[in-house]
């Protein structure tokens, strides 16, 4: 099972960007940059203003990744899949929504916020925006690497479930004070994956696959977390990759 990484986009506390050859990547603790529509979408996109914070984060990072792959424009719907890993999902929206319930005994609960209290709705927004009809879901896991979604993406491509798979990770900062939950760095990072069938000498995109033990690697380099995935994906291609840095 191998897939070409034909696009990458991210939003982290260190900034946002897309494309290879953009220098170092960091997914660290800290405040995420403000996600303004004009930084990610050239058209007015009035729907963007209605989205919850989690959806804005994920949708914008997916837009960067698809833009980097040259797949953000469409006329007919496409069989692209979407898989996102998330530790907290839309917990920030859950809290905002339930506080509207508590504010007036439930009588003024916000229907708009409730619509975004399902973590997969960020993928639904991406499906609508980019015309994507493939399978889509959000994955929560206990593994420290949080990379199971990438393995699942490889499986989906291998099984022929979709032509292209946009896979990544999306998390806002944990919105509650706690000492019992190990924090994960906030941010979103998405890769555009296509099933690889080209001979090595003709390939210019990084190659995601599994090594002999079933662990993920990119161009033969083991990757154990999302930062390593990004850095391995962003390494300049020997034959010259695309360059399209944005504010990173």
């Amino acid at each position: 099972m191998k897939a070409s990484i034909s696009g990458i986009g991210w939003i982290t506390a260190a900034g946002f960007g897309q494309g290879r050859g953009t220098g170092d990547f960091a997914m660290t603790d800290g405040a995420l940059p403000e996600i303004a529509r004009k930084d990610f979408f050239a058209d007015p996109f009035p729907r963007f203003g209605r989205l919850d914070e989690f959806s804005r984060l994920g949708l914008s990072a997916i837009a960067l990744a698809l833009g980097d792959a040259g797949l953000d424009q469409w006329e007919e719907k496409r069989n692209f899949g979407l898989i996102a890993a998330s530790a907290y999902g839309c917990l920030t929206t859950d809290i905002a929504y339930f506080d509207t319930v508590l504010a007036d005994g439930g009588a003024l609960a916000s229907p708009n916020l409730f619509a975004y209290t399902l973590a997969n709705c960020v993928l639904g927004e991406a499906a609508i925006r980019f015309g994507l009809t493939g399978p889509g879901f959000v994955v929560n896991e206990t593994a420290a690497s949080r990379l199971t979604s990438l393995v699942m993406a490889l499986e989906s491509l291998f099984w022929g479930e979709c032509d292209v798979l946009v896979a990544g990770v999306c998390d806002l900062p944990f919105p509650l004070e706690t000492t019992g939950i190990a924090p994960v760095a906030p941010g979103a990072l998405f890769l555009v994956l296509t099933k690889d069938s080209s001979p090595d000498e003709k390939r210019s995109s990084p190659l995601l696959g599994l090594d002999g033990r079933g662990d993920l690697e990119i161009d033969g380099v083991p990757v154990r977390d999302w930062t390593e995935v990004a850095r391995a994906s962003l390494a300049p291609a020997a034959s010259g990759g695309k360059m399209s840095a944005v504010n990173s």
């Binding site: 719907k77 979407l82 530790a87 907290y88 999902g89 917990l91 859950d94 809290i95 929504y97 339930f98 506080d99 319930v101 508590l102 005994g105 439930g106 009588a107 609960a109 916000s110 229907p111 409730f114 619509a115 975004y116 209290t117 399902l118 973590a119 997969n120 709705c121 993928l123 639904g124 927004e125 499906a127 609508i128 015309g131 994507l132 009809t133 493939g134 399978p135 889509g136 879901f137 959000v138 994955v139 929560n140 896991e141 206990t142 593994a143 199971t148 699942m152 499986e155 291998f158 099984w159 479930e161 509650l176 706690t178 019992g180 939950i181």
Partner: protein, 377 residues
Amino acid sequence: MIPVLVTSAAAVTGLGESLDETWRRLLQGESAIAPVTRFDTSVYQSRLASCIPGLSRGGEETLLTPLLERLFEGFPDLPAEIRLLLATTKGGIDVLERQRRGEAVRLEALLPETTLAAVAGRFGLKESGVNINAACASSTIAVARGAALIASGFAETVLVCCLDLVSEFVFSGFSALRALSPEPSRPFDRERAGLTLGEGAAALVLMSPGAARRCGRLPLGRVLGWGVANDATHITAPARDGCGLILAVRQALAKAELCPGAVSAISAHGTGTVYNDLMELTAFATVFGAHRVPIHSAKGAIGHTLGAAGGIEVALGFKALAAAIVPPTVGFQTPEAGAEEIVKSQAVSFAGDVLLTTNSGFGGVNAALLLGKGEAA
């Protein structure tokens, strides 16, 4: 493709502590929908839901804990090296409710990973698996994924476990969206006025024939085909032309190498909302044409159990195949246009050995599974 066998199935619903009890009462046309006592519903659009009798937290942080205990009571042991696919939409949302009300809670209980660890610990699994969140198609997709793992030889045994609760969080939200029916839901009825929520859980063990043989398990049935597709049209409403569901059903038929005429019965999502039921009738008419397949929905009896719906309906689907009976659609009286003669308020027998089960949800998701008859049901 390696055959995908389902060798164990369990369910807990408002109708019963077990799959057998749920099936028996469903066949009798009973409904578990009743006034909610868990929280005050006086300001909401409905007073009703299908709650599991006697489900209480005790000293636990979340109702998920006693729900899992009930689900796995008497459940067979499993090999340690299996894949676990959990499916829940809001998991321990009751913990968040209490936290926002100022109660001291252990926040870990609201994260799906805590439920994953609990299930993995219950069976001594080597890997704790993943939770799949795809709204009301979560467990349908989990079964599809598990089936694909078995069929491709990537796994020998997969445990799919799904569960969701009736909570004020979700209840108030569907009320705010004006999607709750003031009366018990009436799937595919012309006078339907919305959905009724429910809670429940299901567990399904998927095995390759080799694993089943080694474990001495007889198949309850087979997963023959699966498909998942997105409408890409709206976040909360289904595509009126049923485009995503049509695609998902056709994918399932192609995977199973079956023609539409091979399908003998349909367990529909059938929420009882105006738009969902119309969308499904449109999609089924498009796929099946003149082949009028009997359709039923369990949601008039057990409510809409959200992420658990697909798994529960798969478990009931194997019961239906074994008995060659389509259960009644409780609450159904006057058919919506297109539902005449194919949706019934009474149980009806059918000939054949393939049942289609489908679910759709927020985010535009649609999933379809084709189930085949087993030997041990």
